[in-house]
């Protein structure tokens, strides 16, 4: 049994007390003296030429301080993109300028044209109605395949076409893959859409800019998953503010799911305007604004081919994907359909030859970037759907077809550039089938049939690459940043500890789980350890939280810094006990000399470090504070098996999810309660994608799902209780905690399990439906049944 508060214990979360009592401090809870309110005036057309803006009437409205347009941003940089992809022909991706406020043209519904700043939000909104904006509508570029045809209207007039890049991976395998497919005994082909989603953290984005004229210092309070990244991007590339004059604070943040990774125009605006106006400037997104300004997720259209030999061994995979970039390149957008997607196309299977082609396309839609899973759900969905179809075509069990092709020996170098360190896919398959009572399924299906319902069983396996990432590797792949993480462990004189981490918690519970690790390493009570995050003035330069990287990379940095602390503390302890440093042991907060009864307490050593009267000053400095930067040697590879059971009403197409089981291998687990909560939430978002959610545009580029009235968020009545298990553990071999990360698994592995279950149910009812594009709404399922 793990110690209460130690590694492996389901310690209750300390942050909950403030969240439950209403004393959390989210960005919108911050109000600064003399604060002004910004209201963004956004395009209501998808594509248009701005002929003129007349702000005279708006300026004359009560309380209006200033109206900003693109003219005010002459000489200011554009919102930058942090990742460059190279096309097959060796050319760099096409990278359009992304101005803070639209220059000359608007390119998506929601593109900001002007900002009214006023004494109150109501006054700013009122004045916005008086702004005269003359826009000449242009044809909207919406369909990706049409967009890349010759003569298509262009989103960016200064680019050669709407094609951002045409990426081939691994290009050297292309011919071998083509030959393997031509020579295959059987090829299963599937065309599918990975539907566009909106991340929808419950807290809308907020930015508050402040400027201190006395010291020429800027502060931005923002809803970010990575304040240091925002400081670097905004300071260096947009506003030209050096880091020591720019502080970015991301306090309590109400969920992110990827959408709060990116640097947004509103952050730059509020920081810029606060200096211009010499007063704090606040912007709070409405939910409707969030739908048209938060980066969207997914939106891939793919054709996948799976080749097999006569014994159903996978011999090759070829995919062609059109990936929607939207109107501009969001911070990490180019990396999602490429390195976060192509490298995962091996899945859990030993397919020797793989070729992935991705065409990234500009359209007149909101920019698309990473959303929970980012690229890996798209890869998993293709694979796990095509395998189910292949099993049906070959007349074999989808479970056995997976098992037959599972990778079983590790480390395993895939043909798509990554090397899996550990895993045991048969173990997670065994476990999930047991949890889901697969053996009893046929009896339950027969029972459903009696009631006129079609019951289906869906299975999916997944692998993901987390803990992003080795900096030198991602640098070669086009990243314009390193992806290490940092931690400073500051031990105070009386022994309590502040850990400053570059990771950021916006629901993941780091304040609890990170403290579990440090307190266990030293052997003190977890309440003696505080985790500090979310403020660039307090934490060392760190890359933040996304890609299930916090414990694997941020946790490892914290372990390394704590190891340095312990090493120095042992030197001090050795001096205090007049013993040899090599004989000092640390256990339960006591330093002892091996083989003797001598001991000193943790607090005595820390006090000596700060009151160095009896102290080895000739050998070591006073104080006890260490920083570590950890750059991972490899990605981590969580994996798992998910099973879903559904009942379909063939008369209405309505699908009820009856059970969902998840058997994950996350390696070692720090706080099982938190890990299980992450899986619940991920599966619920995967359910949303598979069954309900769809970000929809009409042919003219109008966003027709821009509120909770139109975009279907999963609610309590939609979901069952989940069965989750993480007892299959193959620890990561290359980080000190043996952890893999758990934040995205549910959203990656579950969509194909839901869809496979529905397709299975339909086949059991005699409906030969091979695929339905997500979300599987009653309308879509009913229509598929009618057309079968």
């Amino acid at each position: 049994m793990p110690k209460d508060g130690g590694i492996g214990s389901s310690t209750k979360r300390r942050e909950d007390v403030r969240f439950l009592s209403g004393t959390g401090r989210y960005t919108d809870d911050i109000n600064l003296h003399g604060q002004l309110y910004a209201h963004f005036v956004r395009s209501d057309v998808a594509h248009g030429k701005i002929n003129g803006i007349n702000a005279d009437a708006a300026m004359a409205m009560p309380g209006v301080v200033r109206v900003f347009t693109a003219k005010d941003f002459e000489g200011v940089g554009g919102v930058p993109c942090g990742w460059q992809i190279t096309s097959i022909d060796g050319s760099p991706m096409q990278e359009p300028k992304h101005p803070v406020l639209a220059e000359g043209k608007v390119r998506h519904v929601g593109d900001p044209i002007a900002v009214v700043v006023a004494e109150s939000l109501g006054q700013a909104r009122d004045a916005a109605d008086a702004l005269e904006i003359d826009i000449e509508m242009l044809p909207a570029v919406m369909d990706m395949k049409e967009a890349v045809k010759d003569g298509a209207p262009k989103v960016h007039d200064d680019l050669s076409s709407n094609l951002c890049y045409d990426w081939g991976f691994v290009e050297d395998n292309k011919d071998a893959v083509a030959k393997a497919i031509a020579d295959a005994d059987h090829v299963t082909t599937l065309e599918l859409v990975n539907n566009r989603l909106v991340a929808n953290p419950m807290e809308p984005r907020v930015a508050v800019g402040d400027y201190d004229m006395a010291n020429d210092e800027h502060t931005l309070y923002t809803t970010s998953q990575n304040p240091h990244v925002i400081r670097l991007l905004m300071g260096a590339f947009v506003l030209g503010i050096p880091e020591h004059k720019l502080r970015v604070v991301a306090p309590d943040v109400g969920g992110g799911f990827g959408a709060k990774i990116f640097h947004y125009a509103e952050e730059a605006f509020c920081t810029f305007a606060a200096k211009q106006l010499r007063r704090p400037v606040k912007w709070t997104s409405s939910r409707s604004e969030a739908f048209m300004s938060d980066a969207h997720g997914r939106d891939h259209v793919t054709k996948i081919e799976l080749a097999m030999d006569k014994d159903n061994n996978f011999t090759a995979i070829r995919t062609e994907t059109y990936a929607n970039m939207g109107a501009y390149l969001s911070t990490f957008a180019p990396s999602v359909p490429t390195w976060l997607h192509g490298t995962l196309m091996a899945g859990n299977y030993k397919t020797p030859l793989i070729y992935v082609n991705v065409k990234a396309v500009f359209t007149n839609t909101v920019p698309v970037d990473a959303y929970r899973g980012a690229g890996r759900p798209e890869a998993t969905f293709q694979l796990e759907r095509v395998i189910d179809k292949a099993a049906r075509e070959r007349g074999v069990s989808p479970i056995e077809l997976r098992r037959q092709n599972f990778i079983t020996e590790f480390p395993y170098a895939t043909p798509v550039a990554v090397e899996y360190d550990t895993g045991d896919y048969h173990a997670t398959m065994d476990r999930v089938l047991e949890m889901a009572d697969h053996a009893g399924f046929e009896a339950r299906a027969a029972e459903s049939k009696k009631n006129g319902k079609l019951r289906g069983f869906g299975i999916a396996h997944y692998i993901e690459a987390c803990g992003i990432a080795p900096s030198n590797l991602v640098g070669q792949l086009g990243a314009r940043a390193g992806l290490y993480e940092s931690a400073t462990v500051r031990v105070n004189a009386t022994g309590s500890i502040s850990v400053m981490t570059g990771s950021h918690s916006h629901g993941q519970g780091h304040e609890t789980s990170f403290a579990q690790v440090v307190s266990e390493m030293i052997g003190i009570d977890a309440t003696q350890v505080d985790i500090v995050h979310g403020d660039t003035s307090k934490t060392p330069m760190g890359m933040g939280t996304y890609g299930s990287r916090s414990i694997a990379v941020g946790g490892s940095a914290m372990v390394r810094a704590t190891e340095k602390i312990i090493a120095k503390a042992k030197k001090i302890a050795a001096h205090l006990m007049e013993a040899s440093e090599g004989d000092i042991e640390l256990k339960d907060g006591q330093f002892t000399v091996a083989g003797t009864d001598k001991s000193v307490a943790w607090g005595d050593v820390t006090l000596a470090a700060y009151v160095p009267h009896n102290y080895p000053l000739e050998d070591i400095e006073p104080g006890l504070e260490e920083t570590a930067f950890y750059d991972p040697a490899n990605f981590t590879y969580p994996s798992g098996g998910y099973a879903c059971e559904v009942e379909v009403d063939p008369d209405t197409g309505k699908v009820d999810v009856l059970s969902f089981s998840a058997a994950d291998d996350f390696g070692n687990v720090i706080n099982p309660m938190i890990v299980e909560g992450q899986v619940h939430g991920g599966v619920a978002q995967g359910f949303g994608q598979a069954m309900m959610e769809n970000c929809a545009y009409d042919a003219d580029g109008q966003l027709i799902s821009a509120s909770y009235m139109d975009y279907a968020m999963p609610r309590a009545t939609d979901l069952p209780m989940f069965k989750v298990d993480h007892s299959c553990q193959t620890p990561c071999t290359h980080n000190p905690l043996g952890v893999k990360g758990c934040g995205e698994a549910g959203a990656i592995g579950s969509p194909p399990a839901f869809v496979n279950a529905v397709i299975d149910a339909l086949h059991r009812g005699g409906h030969k439906v091979e695929h339905i594009n997500m979300p599987l709404t009653p309308d879509r399922v009913w229509t598929a049944i009618q057309n079968s």
Binding site: M202, G254, G255, P714
Partner: protein
Amino acid sequence: MNSIKLRVNGKEVTGQVEGRTLLVDFLRKDLRLTGTHVGCDTTQCGACVVHVNGEPVKACAMLAAEADGAEVATIEGQANADGSLSVVQQAFQDHHGLQCGFCTPGMVMAATALLKENPKPSEAEIREYLDGNICRCTGYHNIVKSIMAASGQDVPAMAAE
């Protein structure tokens, strides 16, 4: 402007509000009770649920002027007199019924109202009651568990784990 006088968490408060000022904005901006959150603009998400005269109300769907003379309870007033968490609040912590915490005040206020109406709700009744409260983090699993536990029911028996 309208002058209003009401009781919030047992204390009398007064304010000057525009006709269009929503109750939630009055609570958050004028009274600095920022525990009540705003997650949408169409009264769908429930992050702003408070109690008005003992009934759960979405504070984004009520004008502050309408609350004149009312008794309003917010998340800040839910703890016990000694400062310890209420039964519902404590159950949410014990069962990991929250992650980012943003929907949490509304969930706690809705759950507290539910248990007043229906002290031993079934899982289905809890899910039905929370239909107006959206959570993006938890998948509702642990919220349902928390409310079952707060009502004194056997959580392991109903949870599917």
